[in-house]
Amino acid sequence: MGLRRYLASKTVWYLGALVVAVVLNFLLPRLIPGNPVDVIVSSLGQGGASSEAQQRVYEQFMKEFGLDQPLWNQFVTYLTSILHGNLGKSFAFYPTPVSELIAQSLPWTLALQIPAILIGWIVGNVLGAIAAYKGGGWDKSVFTTSLVFSSMPYFCLSIILLYVMAVYLGWFPPGGAYSLGNSPEWSWAFFTDALQFWWLPFLSLLLINIGGQAVGMRSMAIYELGSDYVNYSRSLGIGDSKMTNYIFRNAMLPQITGLALSIGTMVGGALITELVFNYPGMGLTLFNAIASNDYPVVQAVTLIITVAVLVANYAVEVLYGFIDPRIRASKSGEK
């Protein structure tokens, strides 16, 4: 299979996955008996609004969200508005567009995740490589610690860190993203204030990332250290520094894939951590939207998570097609 055919088949598969994801994203919330507007309006009723007002709100919502039209029309409307970057309006904060809510929360998530993933990747790989190379007590301690961090649920570490560091020791503020009475703005004072709140959720994500990367890199490096070309090169008397160069370049390849994939799960990977720290990112937005049956917001968040993952996976496959000739040469490809 040539490079062009490989790329074409990957593109077709990922486009297929994207279509299925968008259809599911559209269809699943509509499988509910009744429709989402019923839920919203009945919750208004509990708030004491009169039945006439309820009826008016109901009709307006039905019209606004196009729910009075046949499903097929609704889907076409949904598709065209997504393509125009229009994610609809929130139920819970009614006239506010969903894209505005997302624009408020996404930067917080990115501010936590980008540094945590990048630094975690670098530190984790260095630690794992050193552990594999040195062996002995150093290896045992690094490996065991990394294994514990990488196999514990990520939000469990968040809860423990929050309690120990913020509540018990009082070193960090217990949750939130900035001091009360402060509001997001581009100023030095706000930045230093927000930084204090940023450390703890960042650390909790960082430790998990370091653990996962170190475990992966260590086993890759050990595998390479025991391979034939290493023994052969050693017997030829090639120096250690040159050898490590070869070994780690080979061991890096899967790790680079891992980096790209974790960038894809950036949006969806820290939902509960944000919840635990009450950090105003996508996780908290999703939680609030679920609690108030705010379907447009839930759909927007799930769509963004899906698109990010699909794009990252697709990028990895394309990149691999270019770097690794074996993949495009294999006839059956990756099934």
């Binding site: 994203n25 509910i32 939000f155 309690y163 025991g226 969806g268 679920i290 799930t302 993952v309 099934k335």
Partner: protein, 344 residues
């Protein structure tokens, strides 16, 4: 050469292996499972799992309080009477913890087993039958695999929340949803193995002797995949339990029942962390960590036990062969170490 060096690598993982003196042939052959090389890591993992299982299923029989029995106020501190204090509803935390652990384990078992069943079915059929069926099944698998499972889980459980069927809202409904979203990677791994088994000679023998395709798949292909299926099942258990707790913490958990995720959900909702009521949120956190760690640890030690290299040759020779290999690995390790000391 490859054999020796890679067992050198695994010797490094397991710590030093004590070489055994060559044994005289024993009068009776040991049972087959005795010759499997269960490492200490496996016993540690099994011990942790046993602890959690006892807590979930045996503990409630001897504990005087029920999980839905109001015994105190909001976050009463641990006392002699209530070892782990009370939670936000005034329930005994230990009683709730035992019920939650049981439900989370049941959820994990149901969801994990369902996922493995679907995955094995699709994987074996695709891998053994091949052709257009394989293309179609793997196409579906790849698409489901590409879409993040959490997204589908969130969307389906949101719909389930507003149904009136109590069965679907509880732990069983959640397990079904988790099961039908998490099978794809099992299917993919099983297909790869099944299509390699399909080319072996004993399959030809079975075909020649007139066995039918379903029979071949069950009796001639499946047994060769047993170790992979067991390992996939252990991983699916862990990920199902985590999926349940993630959903519950997002507010999409089973309504009206206890689960580890729901217990954390309530603890966070009632500010247990901020007021320092560690007894309300630490126990479920620790049990979740324990379950997840133990299952992943078990999986990685099973990986070593099921290493196909160990199954070559006659079973009674295995122990001696293992000792021989360990000896060789040790020598090689010494050599490498010696060489490193010289170069250093």
């Amino acid at each position: 050469m490859t054999n020796i060096s890679s067992s050198a690598a695994s010797a490094e993982i397991e710590g030093p292996i004590v070489p055994q003196a060559p044994q005289a042939p024993e009068p009776k052959a040991k049972p087959a499972w005795r010759s499997l090389n269960f490492g200490p890591r496996m016993w540690v993992a099994l011990g942790m799992i046993l602890f959690v299982v006892v807590l979930a299923f045996i503990g409630p029989l001897f504990y005087p309080y029920a999980p839905d029995q109001k015994v105190g106020g909001l976050y009463d501190a641990p006392s002699a009477e209530h070892i782990l204090g009370t939670d936000n509803f005034g329930y005994d935390v230990l009683a709730v913890l035992m019920a939650s652990t049981r439900n989370s384990l049941i959820n994990g078992l149901l969801a994990g087993t369902l996922a493995v069943l679907i995955g094995v079915l699709i994987g074996v059929v695709a891998g053994y039958v091949g052709g257009w069926l394989e293309e179609a099944l793997m196409g579906i698998t790849n698409i489901v695999l590409a879409i993040p499972a959490i997204v589908i889980l969130i969307l389906i459980s949101m719909s389930l929340q507003s149904t009136d069927i109590p069965f679907l809202k509880g732990i069983v409904g959640l397990a079904l949803v988790i099961g039908i979203t998490s099978w794809p990677w099992t299917a993919r791994a099983v297909r790869a193995q099944a299509s390699s088994v399909a080319t072996r000679e004993h399959i030809d023998v079975a075909k020649l002797s007139g066995a039918r395709t379903p029979g071949i798949m069950v009796f001639d292909v499946l047994p060769y995949l047993a170790s992979y299926i067991v390992m996939a099942w252990v991983l699916q258990l862990a990920s199902a339990i985590l999926a349940e707790s993630t959903l519950s913490m997002l507010g999409l958990g089973p309504s009206g029942t206890n689960s580890l995720g729901m217990q954390l959900h309530w603890a966070l909702a009632f500010q247990a962390v901020a007021v320092g009521a560690y007894w309300a949120f630490l126990p479920p956190t620790i049990v979740l960590t324990l379950i997840s760690f133990a299952l992943l640890y078990l999986q990685s030690s099973l990986d070593e036990v099921f290493n196909p290299r160990l199954r070559r040759g006659k079973k009674k020779d295995l122990a001696r062969a293992a000792a021989r290999r360990a000896e060789a690995a040790r020598k090689l390790a010494e050599q490498i170490e010696g060489r490193q000391e010289v170069t250093a």
